[in-house]
C-alpha cells in the first residue's frame, strides 16, 4: 500500500504545520462567508444550480457532436484545433507550435490542465522560458511548489512568506510586507514580460460550440494580456469544458464567480473567437486550441461516474471541506485536491495510484451542498471506495479496481456481515459484550489517541426493551 503510506506521511506533515493550518482556516472561513453573501435567497440559488447542472449535463450527453461543432466553428474562425490523448502528446503539440514560431519566451495565464500535463517543466527542459503571470501562480513558481488550491494557488502562503520570496527574486526592489506594495512589484516585474513575450499560453473556462468562442474568467488582467499582447496564443483545455450554446454561458459565469470567490462577476470576462484580422492592430496573429483528453473520455463511459465531468472548477467544494481545511492542498499530492480531487484523481490516475485519497472524507456532504452543478460527490467517492476493494463489482474502465483490497479487512467485514445478518448470533454477541464489558480495553488503537474508549452498556437496548415490556412484533 505504497500510496497509502505516502499519503499518511504527507498528512502527518500537514497536521504538524500549525502555521499552514492557521492560514487555511482563515482563508477558507473568509471565502465561505463571501460565497454565502452572494446567495441571500436560497430559492434563487437552487434554481441557478438546477440551470447550471442542466447546461453541463446536456453538454456531456452531446459531447462528441459539440466537440466536432466547436472544432468546425473555431477552424472557420481561423483558430487551429489540435487533439491530445495524454499529457506527453499535449506538451509535444504545444512545444511544436512554439518551435515552429521561433518562440523562446512564454507568458502564461492560469491553467489547471497545464498542471496535469506538467507543461512548464516540459518546456523549460527544452529551453523555453515560461513565466506564470497570475500572481498566485507566480508566487508558487518562485517557490517551486505546486498549487494548493485550484482557484487560489498560493492560499497556503502568508504575506511574510511572499515578501521573503520577492526579496530573494527581486533583490533590486525594496523589501516590503505590505500587500499593496507586493502587488505593485508583481505588476512592475511582469509588465515587460507581457510586452516582450513571444507567446501566451492560457486555459479555457468555457468553450462555446455554437460560435467557436473561448471564454476566460479573471480578475487581474494577466489573462487578457497573455492572450492579446504576444503574436501567438495557445489555449489548452479539457474536452469536457465544451458547452453547446452562447446562452449557456451567463448562468455558468454567474454561478462560477459567486461560488469560487464570492464575486458577482470577475473583473474581466474575455471571449475570444478569432485571431487578429487583417485590418486589426493587435491581438495574436495565430491562435491555437489544444483539446486534452487525459482520461476524461474513459470516465464518461460510466453513467454514474461521468457526473464528475460536470465540474466547472469553481473550488467551492474544496473551500467547504472540513478535511481540506485541516490538511491544505499539498497533502493530497495530486493536481486537484479536496472533494473534487478525491473524486476525480483516482479516476484519472487509477485507483492503484490515487485510490487511497478516498479515505480522506467523512461523507459529511458539505461539498455536494455547494457544488454549482450538483455533482453528488460523496456518492461518487463511496462508489470509488467500493471499486477499490472489489475488482469484480463492475467492469467499468477504471484502472486499479480492487487494488486497495486487504484480505484482513475483507475478512473482518465478512465476519461482521455474518454476525449482523444472523439475529441470534448478534444477540449472543451483544450479550457477551455487555456482560463482559469489564474486559473492554482502555486503549483502542487510534481511537483512544484522542478520545476515551467507549464501553458496552450493562444491558443492550434489546434487553431493556424486553424488560420495559415493548412488544417484539
Amino acid at each position: 500500500m505504497n500510496q497509502t503510506r505516502e499519503f499518511h506521511h504527507r498528512i502527518d506533515d500537514a497536521l504538524h504545520n500549525d502555521q499552514l493550518r492557521s492560514n487555511f482556516r482563515s482563508a477558507m472561513t473568509g471565502v465561505m462567508e463571501r460565497r454565502a453573501q452572494q446567495f441571500p435567497d436560497d430559492d434563487q440559488l437552487q434554481a441557478l444550480r438546477e440551470q447550471a447542472q442542466a447546461v453541463r449535463a446536456n453538454s456531456l450527453v452531446k459531447q462528441p457532436e459539440l466537440l466536432e461543432r466547436l472544432e468546425q466553428k473555431l477552424t472557420e474562425n481561423g483558430i487551429q484545433v489540435h487533439w491530445a490523448e495524454g499529457s506527453e502528446q499535449a506538451n509535444a503539440i504545444i512545444h511544436g507550435i512554439l518551435e515552429a514560431a521561433g518562440a523562446k519566451t512564454v507568458v502564461k495565464g492560469k491553467s489547471m490542465v497545464s498542471e496535469e500535463t506538467e507543461l512548464n517543466q516540459y518546456l523549460e527542459q527544452r529551453g523555453i522560458q515560461i513565466i506564470e503571470s497570475d500572481l498566485g501562480e507566480y508566487i508558487i513558481q518562485l517557490a517551486k511548489e505546486p498549487p494548493s488550491h485550484i482557484v487560489m494557488p498560493a492560499v497556503h502562503k502568508n504575506r511574510f512568506e511572499v515578501a521573503e520570496l520577492f526579496r530573494e527574486f527581486h533583490p533590486d526592489i525594496p523589501y516590503t510586507e505590505d500587500v499593496d506594495e507586493l502587488t505593485q512589484t508583481a505588476r512592475q516585474v511582469l509588465r515587460t514580460r507581457f510586452a516582450n513575450a513571444d507567446a501566451g499560453v492560457s486555459g479555457v473556462n468555457f468553450a462555446v460550440a455554437e460560435t467557436g468562442t473561448l471564454c476566460l474568467v479573471e480578475n487581474e488582467g494577466n489573462g487578457r494580456l497573455s492572450t492579446t499582447a504576444p503574436r501567438l496564443h495557445i489555449a489548452i483545455t479539457g474536452i469536457e469544458k465544451v458547452v453547446e450554446k452562447l446562452s449557456d454561458v451567463p448562468p455558468l459565469l454567474e454561478i462560477l464567480t459567486k461560488s469560487a470567490t464570492g464575486q458577482p462577476i470577475t473583473t474581466y470576462f474575455n471571449m475570444i473567437s478569432r485571431p487578429r484580422q487583417p485590418n486589426e492592430l493587435d491581438g495574436p496573429e495565430a491562435v491555437h486550441l489544444v483539446l486534452l483528453d487525459n482520461g476524461r473520455s474513459r470516465i464518461r463511459v460510466d453513467e454514474e461516474l461521468l457526473d464528475t465531468l460536470r465540474c466547472i472548477r469553481c473550488g467551492a467544494c474544496i473551500n467547504h471541506c472540513p478535511v481540506y481545511v485541516q490538511l491544505g492542498g499539498h497533502a493530497y499530492g495530486t493536481v486537484y485536491p479536496g472533494p473534487i480531487g478525491i473524486a476525480l484523481e483516482p479516476q484519472r490516475l487509477g485507483l492503484d495510484q490515487a485510490g487511497t485519497l478516498t479515505s480522506a472524507c467523512t461523507m459529511c456532504g458539505a461539498c455536494a451542498e455547494v457544488c454549482p452543478v450538483k455533482i453528488p460527490l460523496p456518492k461518487l467517492i463511496n462508489r470509488l471506495r467500493a471499486e477499490s476493494v472489489n475488482e469484480q463489482r463492475t467492469t467499468t474502465p477504471l484502472s486499479g479496481r480492487g487494488s486497495l483490497r486487504k484480505p484482513s479487512e475483507a475478512t473482518i467485514w465478512k465476519l461482521w456481515s455474518r454476525l449482523n445478518s444472523h439475529p441470534r448470533l448478534y444477540r449472543m454477541f451483544t450479550f457477551a459484550a455487555t456482560r463482559l464489558r469489564w474486559l473492554t480495553p482502555g486503549k483502542l488503537g487510534a481511537w483512544t489517541r484522542y478520545r476515551s474508549a467507549p464501553r458496552p452498556a450493562r444491558q443492550s437496548l434489546h434487553d431493556l426493551a424486553r424488560k420495559e415490556g415493548f412488544s417484539n412484533e
Binding site: E85, N158, D180, G212, V249, Y268, M271, L281
Partner: protein, 213 residues
C-alpha cells in the same frame, strides 16, 4: 493526429449517457427602468473601486479636460472614429495625444510604459453586475482598455441592459461573435496574498465610466 481525434471521438460515442432534457434558456428578468439600471451599474462599479460619473452627452470632453490633468495623467491614447475625433478637436492643451494607428509590434514599449490613459467607447453596459461591454475593433483595439494604467470608457445611458443573459439574447450574439468580446467590471485586482484585496495589478489600476445622457 487525426487518429487521436478519431480515437477520442469514437470513445465518446460509445456508451452514450442517457439523454437529459435540454436546458431552458436562462432568463433573469429584473424589470428595471433606466434609472434603476444606472443606479445598480453605479453601485456595483463603485463597490470594486470603479469610478462612475453621469455627464451630458456633449460634456464628457470638458469633464476629462477638467478632472484628469490634475491626476498627473497627460499622455492620452485615442483610436479612430467619432469619439477620437471629437476628443482630438476639444482636448485640453495639457494633454499629449497619441493615436493607436499602427500595429502593436511597432510601438509596444510606448504603449506599455508611456501612456497614462486611454479613452474608448463601449457597446453597452450590464446593470446587474456593473459591467461594461466592449467589442474592440480596428478603431479601438484590444490593448487600449488593458495596457494603460487608466481606462476611461464612455457609456450611453440608454445602452444599459439588465444582465448578460438579456443582452446576448436581445442582440443575438449567437449570430456572429467578434474577434474579441469583453465584459469589464472594474479596475484590475487580486486577492492572491492572504485573500487581501489589492487593486491595480496587471490591467488598468483605475477605470472611469462616463455615463452619457
Amino acid at each position: 493526429m487525426s487518429d487521436t481525434r478519431d480515437t477520442i471521438l469514437s470513445r465518446l460515442r460509445t456508451n452514450r449517457p442517457h439523454a437529459v432534457p435540454a436546458p431552458d434558456v436562462y432568463r433573469k428578468p429584473l424589470n428595471w427602468d433606466r434609472e434603476q439600471c444606472i443606479t445598480s451599474f453605479t453601485e456595483r462599479m463603485q463597490a470594486v473601486r470603479g469610478e462612475v460619473h453621469r455627464v451630458g452627452r456633449n460634456a464628457w470632453i470638458d469633464w476629462i479636460n477638467t478632472e484628469i490633468p490634475c491626476r498627473d495623467m497627460t499622455r492620452a491614447l485615442i483610436g479612430h472614429g467619432a469619439i477620437a475625433e471629437n476628443f482630438a478637436a476639444g482636448a485640453s492643451a495639457a494633454f499629449e495625444l497619441t493615436r493607436y494607428d499602427r500595429k502593436i509590434e511597432e510601438w509596444k514599449d510606448v504603449l506599455f510604459h508611456e501612456i497614462d490613459f486611454a479613452i474608448t467607447g463601449s457597446l453597452a453596459g450590464l446593470a446587474e453586475s456593473g459591467s461594461l461591454v466592449l467589442w474592440p475593433d480596428t478603431s479601438e483595439p484590444r490593448l487600449m482598455s488593458l495596457a494603460p494604467p487608466l481606462h476611461i470608457a464612455l457609456l450611453e445611458a440608454d445602452r444599459l441592459y439588465e444582465n448578460f443573459a438579456q443582452m446576448i439574447e436581445q442582440e443575438d450574439w449567437a449570430d456572429g461573435m467578434p474577434t474579441n468580446a469583453l465584459l469589464i467590471s472594474g479596475p484590475s485586482k487580486t486577492a492572491d496574498i492572504e485573500q487581501t484585496l489589492a487593486y491595480g495589478i496587471h490591467g488598468p489600476k483605475a477605470l472611469i465610466t462616463l455615463i452619457l445622457e
